[in-house]
Symmetry: C2
Subunit: 193 residues, 2 copies
């Protein structure tokens, strides 16, 4: 067997994740069979499951990657900006729907839930760090515990994900996100925002 | 065939809906087979599908019934109270999860979506009516369109449903709902709420 470089392994892993993401989006969690994963990634099941233990492992790796991308946006611009980006990029909705389909698994399968918790912890940590900086800068309301504000923003995010995944109309949601942003801001500033 | 009274038909319909609700909650949408529906309702498939066209029809009837119950609470106490009730009654979560499982259908199946829209319209109408009364009573903020406030509250409700359906912890959510309630209230009142 030829020696395989790390670059090659990374590229292969990337190829699998990108294909799997499309495959989940197109077929749903249940419908993303190994056969379809092979088609979507252009690789054999042997190659796919050399990198990921099973379909759950693939799904959780994608979810973690998504959370890390979101966390980067949160760090710079906050969780409301993540929501604005979701509104602006409807092509991501199919993948978001897959998140809803696994809700039963999250409730009933402890191992799967533990994998998901890693994803959630990543996003919550980024949100709390961002809120702490905003508070220090005097931009955050100081009458509510930042942990409550973080839980609030995550609840709205979950709502938006569900809304998009159900294919409901989104044209009216931009002022709703303005309201959400406003409701975590410092009050009673005489002028400016 | 004996003459069947309306009372009898209503009771039979009730029996089917109650059994189907449990069956969906226990097995999920896909897992709620006709065989399991028979077991859960104690009735034959012939009897079940005399009252409901198919599984979709049963599911949408349950969803509409739920929306009507919610609308009654909304009319008296508002949509935030609906959310507080959800937090207080975790035994309803299993059924809520079924709502998430059908998200793909809502996005891809126009007929199914139309059935669901009836449910949504019911809840939105009740919410808008409640908000109009609250505004008249001077309790609602008047710097934001009530339609935006209604969309905001429904988005948070969707988030809460997703949160509960995923079996995530809920102990910290009560102050979050306080924040949601506060964010639609009239501002700058010198005293009282």
């Amino acid at each position: 067997m030829p020696k395989v470089s790390q670059d090659h392994l990374d590229a292969r892993r990337r190829q699998i994740l990108d294909g799997a993401r499309v495959c989940f989006a197109r077929n749903g969690y249940e419908g993303a069979t190994v056969r379809r994963m092979e088609e979507a990634t252009g690789l054999s099941r042997g190659a796919i499951f050399h990198h990921f233990r099973d379909k759950d492992g693939l799904f959780l790796a994608l979810a973690l990657e998504e959370a890390q991308r979101m966390a980067d946006v949160v760090a710079e611009q906050g969780l409301v900006q993540v929501m604005r980006d979701l509104l602006a990029h409807p092509e991501q909705h199919d993948w978001l729907g897959t998140r809803l389909e696994v809700s039963r698994r999250l409730r009933t399968d402890a191992e799967f839930r533990a994998g998901w918790a890693q994803r959630s912890a990543e996003l919550t940590a980024a949100t709390l760090a961002r809120l702490a900086r905003q508070r220090e800068a005097g931009k955050l309301r100081d009458d509510v515990d930042p942990a409550v504000l973080a839980a609030y923003l995550e609840l709205v995010l979950d709502g938006l994900v569900a809304h998009l995944a159900m294919g409901l109309p989104t044209a009216h949601l931009s002022p709703v996100l303005d309201l959400v942003e406003d409701s975590v801001r410092r009050r009673s500033q005489p002028a400016g925002s």
